[in-house]
Amino acid sequence: MDAFRDFLDMGGYAVWVWSAYGISALSLIGMLVWSVRTLKARQKEFDVLKNSRG
């Protein structure tokens, strides 16, 4: 348990280290989710257009 607390504490630099890792993780996940969603939305839009033309 102490080892885990030490890990979270990061030798007293917890604020800096964990915010850097947190912000980076959120940005990369956000970029991935946004890109996949845009692709799916456009695929849908394109399918609708194609079907409407018969």
Binding site: G12, W16, V17, S27, L28, L32, V36, L39, E45
Partner: protein, 244 residues
């Protein structure tokens, strides 16, 4: 190179490498993160803040590499009218902006505890901030025209103007005095211990593979947007009576 100018050809290659780069990204994160956060040693001077290095340096490297890719794509688009080159540049720009922002943010979160300040207006930080503005300018300019082709050409020219700034970022720590430390790595030698090099390379690999993976998704998306535009155009052209 002209082989890649054909969208079908390009997407065939992209789809073939897609599962591999996605797998490499996942593996590198899976191994890199625990090593970066747990098993790699704390620095004897900087303590655990050195773990920010494994995010800051890969973000910086990717930010610069993506800028070169974006500029090369823009050049190919302006010179040979390669539409695929333009799509690669367009799909890269948001990721380049993201990595530049992450490089700056992680750098600030490292600078405050180690230098005693979030920011100094030195050459390294300022030229990186300028690259960030070039990315934003590229993204904004592309959407600023009613004719998408004019927007694409304007932003491609801006990307080429900004490319002179990128080597300045790299050499700034050698040319001017600064708080920022010079490069610890070069092709020929390293001033870093192997314990720190391993997580650094894994995280670089993870970021690079992430970029290629998301790039393929975004290029697919850009191709669809072009197809949607064409379909709309032909729809409008097919019913002239509606125009009145």
């Amino acid at each position: 190179m002209h082989r890649f100018a054909n969208p079908t050809q390009f997407m065939r290659i992209a789809n073939a490498i897609y599962p591999w780069v996605a797998g490499v990204a996942i593996l590198c994160f899976l191994f890199g993160l625990p090593i970066a956060l747990i098993t790699s040693p704390a620095d004897y001077q900087q303590g655990n803040t050195v773990r920010i290095l494994y995010l800051h340096v890969p973000a910086a490297v990717l930010a610069e590499m993506i800028y070169y890719a974006m500029a090369a794509g823009s050049a190919a688009y302006l010179i040979w009218r390669h539409p695929m080159a333009n799509l690669v540049a367009k799909a890269s720009a948001p990721m380049g902006a993201m990595f530049t922002a992450l490089c700056l943010i992680c750098g600030m979160l490292w600078g405050e505890p180690m230098w005693g300040t979030f920011w100094v207006w030195d050459a390294r930080l300022t030229s990186t901030l300028i690259m960030f503005f070039f990315y934003l300018g590229y993204l904004a300019l592309g959407d600023a025209f009613e004719d998408p082709e004019r927007g694409d050409r304007a932003s491609a020219i801006l990307a080429l103007v900004g490319v002179v700034n990128v080597p300045i970022i790299k050499f700034s720590v050698n040319w001017w005095n600064t708080l920022h430390q010079p490069a610890s790595l070069s092709l020929t030698k390293s001033n870093m211990s192997g314990d720190m090099l391993l997580p650094l390379f894994l995280m670089m690999g993870a970021y690079a593979a992430f970029y290629v993976t998301v790039l393929i998704i975004r290029v697919r998306s850009e191709l669809l947007a072009a197809k949607i535009r064409n379909a709309r155009m032909s729809q409008i052209a097919a019913m002239p009576q509606m125009a009145e």
